[in-house]
């Protein structure tokens, strides 16, 4: 069981985490952040296993992972 925190202000909406999450736990949000980017959003359906793949691949080091 895991959980991630996406730091919205660091996120640039590149969708890399969305693509790489093996559990499809991340989606793009509808909101803009202050830079005008859609940021990504943790779905938190309980399937996240804290594998850190999203965090490892995030170019902006915007994700923290808990397990």
């Amino acid at each position: 069981m895991g959980r991630i925190v996406i730091r919205e202000e660091l996120c640039k909406g590149c969708e890399i985490c969305v693509f790489f999450c093996p559990k499809k736990q991340i989606v793009m949000s509808e909101k803009f952040n202050s830079k005008g980017h859609h940021s990504s959003e943790f779905r938190d359906t309980g399937e996240c296993n804290g594998c850190t793949v999203c965090a490892v691949m995030c170019p902006d080091v915007a994700i923290e992972v808990y397990k």
């Binding site: 202000e9 804290g50 170019p59 808990y66 397990k67």
Partner: protein, 246 residues
């Protein structure tokens, strides 16, 4: 729950000004993690290039120097020769290292300067707006190769690891990419080797990271990752080109 992934201490807690999907960010994180893990932050001097990563000095919590375009290996030489016990690394783009800075990297390598070179090959000049780099692929469009790079006019893409490996002073040369968790893990190992070699006084280590530039390639971040895997890796094979550790 326990935090199992967080920003390395050596990476400042600010937003980096790279484009969405630019792997400069991953490379930064890996270097910062290695510095953290080796416990050398307070002993490290980073030399920044001119290129998109010119602002590395704003993102790294260690002492840093901004070098003139291409001259980072010479600056690093000046630092390391004067302070042999400091950890000195350069971080350079393909324009910086493989074009204007060719003489400086070749001679730092030939001299076996005991430094670690982080080389970001994104096959383009990112910062100046997408001109051809020495590593731009044949056929690749850039703002100075309209219609795609043609070797008759613009020469061949340059393979830096292959060029430098034969030089006596090179301890380690590896090409990695940043396009998957496995590749990122390999990249980190290579970076760690490059720093460890320096601590061990082995000579110059270089890690070439195939990197994305979605903006100047004119593709989405994901397509940029695919381009590295499918196109760049074919011409720039991943692997360790030299390792004095055997």
């Amino acid at each position: 729950m326990e935090k199992v992934f967080t920003r390395p201490k050596t990476l400042s807690d600010v937003q980096m000004a790279y484009c969405a999907g630019c792997t400069h960010g991953i490379a930064h994180r890996l270097v910062a993690e290695v510095i953290d893990e080796l416990g050398v932050r307070e002993n490290t001097v980073g030399v920044c290039p001119v290129g998109c990563s010119v602002f590395l000095y704003e993102y790294f919590e260690c002492d840093t120097i901004e070098a003139a375009h291409g001259r980072a290996p010479a600056v690093a030489t000046g630092v390391k020769r004067c302070l042999p016990d400091r950890v000195v690394f350069t971080y350079q783009g393909d324009g910086d290292l493989a074009a204007i800075g060719t003489a400086e990297i070749v001679h730092a390598a030939s001299r076996g300067e005991n430094i670690s070179v982080m080389f970001i090959n994104n096959a383009i000049y990112g910062m100046t707006g997408g001109q051809m780099a020495p590593t731009t692929m044949l056929g690749q469009e850039s703002t100075t190769t309209p219609g795609g790079r043609d070797h008759a006019r613009a020469g061949y893409p340059m393979r830096v690891c292959e060029l430098l490996s034969p030089l006596e002073g090179v301890a380690y040369a590896a090409r990695v990419s940043l396009t998957s968790p496995a590749n990122v893990a390999k990249a980190k190992r290579a970076i760690k080797t490059a720093f460890q070699n320096q601590l061990d006084g082995k000579g110059l280590s270089i890690v070439e990271m195939l990197s994305t530039c979605p903006t100047q390639w004119g593709v989405s971040p994901l397509d940029a990752f695919r381009h590295v895997d499918e196109v760049m890796t074919a011409y720039y094979p991943l692997g360790v080109y030299k390792d004095v550790n055997g």
